[in-house]
Amino acid sequence: MKRSTSSAKAFSPWAAVFWLLVWQAAALWVNEPIFLVSPLAAIQRLFQLLGVPTFWQSVWFTLGRILLGFGLSLLLALVFSVAAYRFRWLRELLSPLTATIKAIPVASFVILALLWVSSKNLSVLISLLIGFPVLYGNLLSGLDSTDPKLIEMAKVFRIPFCRQLQAIYLYQVLPFLRSGLSIAMGLCWKSGIAAEVIGIPTGSIGEKLYTAKVYLETADLFCWTLCIVLLSVGCEKLLSLLVDILIKEAAARAGSRSSV
């Protein structure tokens, strides 16, 4: 089982090269850059755009807003998952809400949200709404998976809840949090960009994508898409690295806790 999971995730350079070659061959075969640009043309265009100041302005505009939405969703998920773990009524109250948010298409959210907030901050709200149920669900699953025998031990020894959170729950939750953060980050980028393409806030990556579509600038479209993928994967990897450091740090602190 483990073997198949790791093989599914394995990323081999030869496979990437193979698909790039397939893309290049397809572009040559179509021979119409408006329909399909070659990978070389897309990368060439990306290097051109890297030197344009508005490129970086758009990147910071979108990156800042999506990360803000993501950060807020994480904060809310932390607060509500701990509260829902302690209070069954809150868990029951939030259950239909999170299920509904998960089921509603992003486009419906975006159109509805445009009535409430300016298009400038739309991606913050959408990232928050899309990221929250994933993070909340994962954190709650992590808390639920905590060994009940350890919780009983904590009850008998009257260990305060905040210390229980730190010493008992943290270890159970971190792996769940890690996978939740990774999934939520990807979803926040996808939904945040979708929101920008619909809301077209000035100076965003979404606006650039929309403009590329309107003027049939396929090379720009591919280039911005590549940029979004790189940003999304980069954020995800950075976050995973951060959580891994946190896990190691927590384990190290546990190992030398006597000196605390």
């Binding site: 025998k149 008998v156 010493a167 546990a254 190992g255 806790r257 006597s258």
Partner: protein, 184 residues
């Protein structure tokens, strides 16, 4: 003082504890003996408030401490951290007791996940003995200890629990420590 009054508990319709009453006086050490599966652990859990009885009640409230049937340690934490978390005892005090129980000083700083069953049991015992308590519940506390270590640990338990209420559960006649016997 803790008092079980007409306690009954069933699981899946099978009665495990039936109309059990017993006063646990302050400062008295009790020993509950019986074969495996007779309900000893269930009774301990009822007395500790970890299970709700089907009938009857547990009267009197007191600070409790316990050695559970399982060690219930935080595996990534070292021995001192495990004891410290539950007791608030000083590091020196914890170190002294753990070493008195036969653990090597170097091992105290290793995660307990690397410990043998007997070592883990002694960490669980140290945690129970150093916690602030009025009533101490010991569920097969000497399980997994070799004879020599067991003798040393039994002596320490007897010494350190003077003046406290203790309920020891065992199925081994050699582990009763001369405590006052009670039966289910």
């Amino acid at each position: 003082m803790l008092e079980a009054v007409h306690l009954s508990k069933s699981f899946d319709g099978k009665p495990i504890i039936v109309d059990f009453s017993q006063r646990l006086e302050t400062g008295v050490h009790y020993c509950l003996m019986g074969p495996s599966g007779c309900g000893k652990t269930t009774l301990l859990r009822l007395l500790m408030g970890l299970l709700q009885p089907d009938a009857g009640e547990v009267r009197g409230s007191s600070k409790m401490s316990a050695v559970f049937q399982e060690n219930r340690l935080l595996e990534p934490f070292n021995a001192i951290a495990n004891v410290e978390l539950a007791t608030g005892a000083s590091r020196g005090e914890i170190e002294r007791l753990l070493m008195e129980l036969g653990l090597e000083k170097e091992s105290l700083f290793q995660p307990v996940s690397a410990f043998s069953g007997g070592m883990k049991r002694r960490v669980a015992l140290a945690r129970a003995l150093l916690a602030e308590y009025d009533a101490l519940f010991l569920d097969e506390p000497f399980k997994g200890l070799d004879d020599e270590t067991k003798a040393r640990v039994m002596r320490i338990v007897s010494e350190r629990t003077k003046g406290k209420t203790v309920l020891l559960v065992t199925h081994d006649e050699t582990e009763t420590l001369g405590f006052q016997p009670i039966s289910l």
